[in-house]
């Protein structure tokens, strides 16, 4: 299995350098890339090899020495394959961190050993917790600039542990001291910090165990109905989508939500090849025994699902707000949830999360980079899960009708309305 990693930290904490170091020390960097970085190092910097330039690929990034947009990089060791997102820490910092964390199994949170825990670090831990990233690697970086001091390291880790107790959901911190610039404890263990006896960052990432999604029961949100209309497949009517939440097999009884109809699975195909069963994550198409009215946006759920989704048109959700135009009570947005698109009306803003103290404040509006809890009325019933039960069914985005921009990321925490 691929391990997806998000990186987080304030500007200049060393995220890009760390990723460059991981790529370099796992021999992922090709000769021409290294040559181009060497050339660019002469132009932007003091001439010593600047590994951050491996991910800072846009011209403006190189000129300003910053990362502007999320970049994805790939590397592999004999143990595992990794995808790492370099998420920049300024202007749209929360948006980038949320985006990176939403698809990650683990977040590397960098702290500059000289500065200690900052407001940004607290924010990153909060976001990881809110987004359900349960494993964090707290990497205390630039240890070379604090004489590799164990006292300094212990102090920072203690502050982080204290903050972690106030987070909305528990997060494992997995702390370690590193120097991204020099490579200490990144891939190879450090000779400079004999007091640290744990494994290097890469070793930990290679062996990190993720708790498997406990099965809540299979569901398939219909993306497309395949109707060939050919003589050979005259009656074929395949419900295409990606299976999540559990396995299905031919013969399983299913319900089609938000309606009340039931039927039985009679065929399963993946890429046109018939199979008896399907696993979560597989892009499949299924056929049902009965000719019931099903279209894009409907959700097929096994009758035996231990924790089925709920049909609701009022939802309570945590939101990460990603644009300049504020989210205000009484405003209307497009909501996209699974394969359904509808309108959503903001009926209330319950609170704005104060990420550095993990406390809450009442507010009338949420601005760029704010995190808060909102109540939405949706124009049609959605088939939802709680985000903590099931990410695909518990996540949604808000889109601005006028500009088409993606404005908010939603994590569903509660619902009301029609029961299933």
């Amino acid at each position: 299995m691929v391990l997806r990693i998000a990186t987080a930290g304030s500007v200049d904490d060393g995220k890009s350098t760390l990723i460059g170091r991981l790529l370099h020390d796992t021999k992922t960097v090709f000769e021409d890339q290294l040559a181009s970085v060497e050339k660019a190092s002469l132009r932007y910097g003091d001439g010593s090899l600047n590994l951050a330039l491996l991910t800072d690929g846009l011209r403006a990034e190189r000129e300003q020495g910053i990362t502007i947009d999320v970049a994805y990089r790939y590397f592999a060791t004999p143990e595992r394959t990794f995808v790492v997102a370099d998420t920049p820490g300024h202007a749209q910092y929360t948006r980038n961190m949320v985006t990176g964390a939403s698809v990650s199994d683990v977040a590397i949170v960098l702290v500059d050993a000289r500065n200690g825990l900052t407001e940004q670090t607290r924010r990153h831990l909060f976001v990881a917790s809110l987004l359900g990233v349960k494993q964090v690697m707290l990497a205390v970086n630039k240890m070379d600039l604090v004489d590799f001091s164990q006292d300094r390291y212990d102090e920072i880790v203690a502050a982080a542990r204290a903050h972690a107790t106030a987070l909305p959901a528990p997060v494992a911190l997995n702390p370690l001291p590193i120097s991204a610039l020099l490579g200490d404890n990144v891939v190879d263990s450090s000779d400079n910090m004999p007091w640290y006896t744990g494994p290097s960052l890469l070793r930990q990432l290679e062996t990190l165990e993720l708790d498997d999604d406990h099965s809540i029961g299979a569901r398939l949100s219909v993306q497309w109905v395949i109707r060939p209309y050919s003589t050979e497949h005259h009656d074929f009517r395949g419900l295409a989508g990606r299976l999540t939440g559990g396995t299905v097999a031919i013969g399983d009884r299913v319900r089609v939500l938000p309606g009340a109809q039931q039927s039985t699975i009679v065929s399963i195909e993946r890429g046109g090849v018939p199979q008896e069963t399907a696993e979560p994550g597989e892009a499949i198409s299924i056929q049902l025994a009965d000719d019931i009215d099903i279209s894009r946006g409907d959700v097929v759920v096994t009758v035996a699902a231990p924790k089925p989704p709920v049909v609701a048109d009022q939802i309570v959700a945590d939101v990460s707000w990603m644009v300049d135009k504020p989210l205000e009570v009484g405003t209307r947005w497009i909501i996209k949830h699974l394969t359904r698109t509808a309108k959503a009306f903001v009926s209330a803003i319950e609170t704005r999360h104060d990420v550095s103290t993990a406390s809450q404040h009442s507010t009338e509006r949420l601005e760029l980079n704010d995190l808060g809890r909102v109540h939405l009325n949706v124009s049609v019933p959605l088939v939802v899960d709680l985000y903590d039960d099931h990410r695909p069914g518990g996540a949604a985005i808000l889109v601005d009708e006028a500009t088409g921009m993606t404005c908010g990321a939603l994590m569903i925490r509660g619902f009301d309305g029609l029961e299933s």
């Binding site: 000769e31 947009d69 590397f75 948006r95 890429g271």
Partner: protein, 310 residues
């Protein structure tokens, strides 16, 4: 432990190919459902071959619900055109050809002159004109994030404004990989279902699925000249310059582009398995080795992307 060993190691198992396939098919279905008139950009290269294969699988046993478009620079390898026409029949899809020559004739673009002129840059105009003419609102491309540092910043669903331009600072976030296909008239989307694939994944998939490829991907004898460290095929648009001595060499291509600026590499890899072994051991990225246009300047790809390139 080196990456080369790891990569060779990866030959024995399928290392994530199923997952990549599921993800790509999910993206293709989603974009098709959310847009009015999508099109698949087909260059005849290996990435677009894989893309077409995946698109066909996504809608089986139905037909592909959209056409494929070839942006024809007029500087083609004959083998690639033969291959394109064969595949169109095999997959039973509608082919739209957008011609760079037609853009030149219509005065839409001015061709660089001289023996080293390439039509690669001109493709952007032809592509955007064709998208407007056919009123396509989404174009599937075979771009991968591992190809280039600017591509590494690309979204799965990439928004293009009325001028076809890409603005890296104003990209739509894709939390949970949720795709937002909302656009206004005149704007369009580029969709990259292969975003998370590497070159090696592509080859392993081609091997596993027996995806047909143009013959120039495998070793053959060819008359070339060596220019800026690249081997360019002589005949067609490339003419030997004074001082350059054409010679015959055993080569293959790692990418297929405009024949005037796509270089061959010395290789004896005659089949997919040989190629995988070679790719796994390669120490130079495919673009660095074979694309003269990217070596122009360090941000050549970013510049072309901003102008509306693939």
């Amino acid at each position: 432990m080196t990456l080369t060993d790891n990569r060779l190691d990866g030959l024995d198992h399928d290392g994530g190919l199923d997952e990549l396939e599921d993800e790509a098919i999910t993206i293709i279905r989603e974009v098709t459902a959310e847009t009015r008139a999508p099109v698949l950009l087909f260059s005849g290269g290996k990435d677009s071959a894989v893309l077409l294969h995946l698109a066909a699988k996504a809608f089986r046993p139905g037909n592909l619900p959209f056409p494929v478009m070839h942006v024809d620079t007029g500087h083609n390898f004959d083998e690639v055109i033969e291959y394109r026409d064969r595949l169109v029949k095999e997959y039973n899809v509608r082919l739209v050809v957008a011609s760079v020559q037609a853009s030149i004739d219509a005065g839409r673009v001015v061709e660089d002159t001289g023996p080293r002129a390439s039509r690669n840059r001109l493709q952007s105009v032809t592509l955007l004109d064709a998208i407007a003419e056919h009123q396509f609102d989404a174009a599937f491309g075979g771009g991968r994030r591992d190809e280039d540092k600017a591509r590494a910043k690309e979204r799965i669903l990439s928004f293009r404004d009325r001028f076809g331009q890409w603005e890296p600072r104003a990209q739509r976030p894709e939390p949970w990989n949720m795709l937002n296909a909302k656009i206004r008239t005149g704007e369009h989307l580029r969709a990259f279902p292969l975003s998370n694939w590497t070159e090696l994944d592509i080859w392993r998939y081609i091997g596993r699925e027996e995806v047909p490829l143009p013959s120039i991907y495998f070793s053959h004898r060819r008359v070339v000249v060596e220019r800026n460290g690249m081997l360019l095929s002589v005949g067609g648009p490339v003419v030997a310059e004074p001082g350059e001595v054409p010679f015959e060499e055993t080569v293959r291509y790692r990418t297929v582009g405009d024949a005037s600026c796509t270089g061959a590499v010395r290789s004896t890899a005659a089949n997919v398995h040989d190629v995988i072994t070679e790719v796994a051991a390669a120490r130079i990225t495919e673009r660095g080795a074979t694309r003269a246009d990217d070596n122009f300047s360090d941000s050549a790809m970013e510049d072309r992307k901003r102008e509306g390139y693939f």
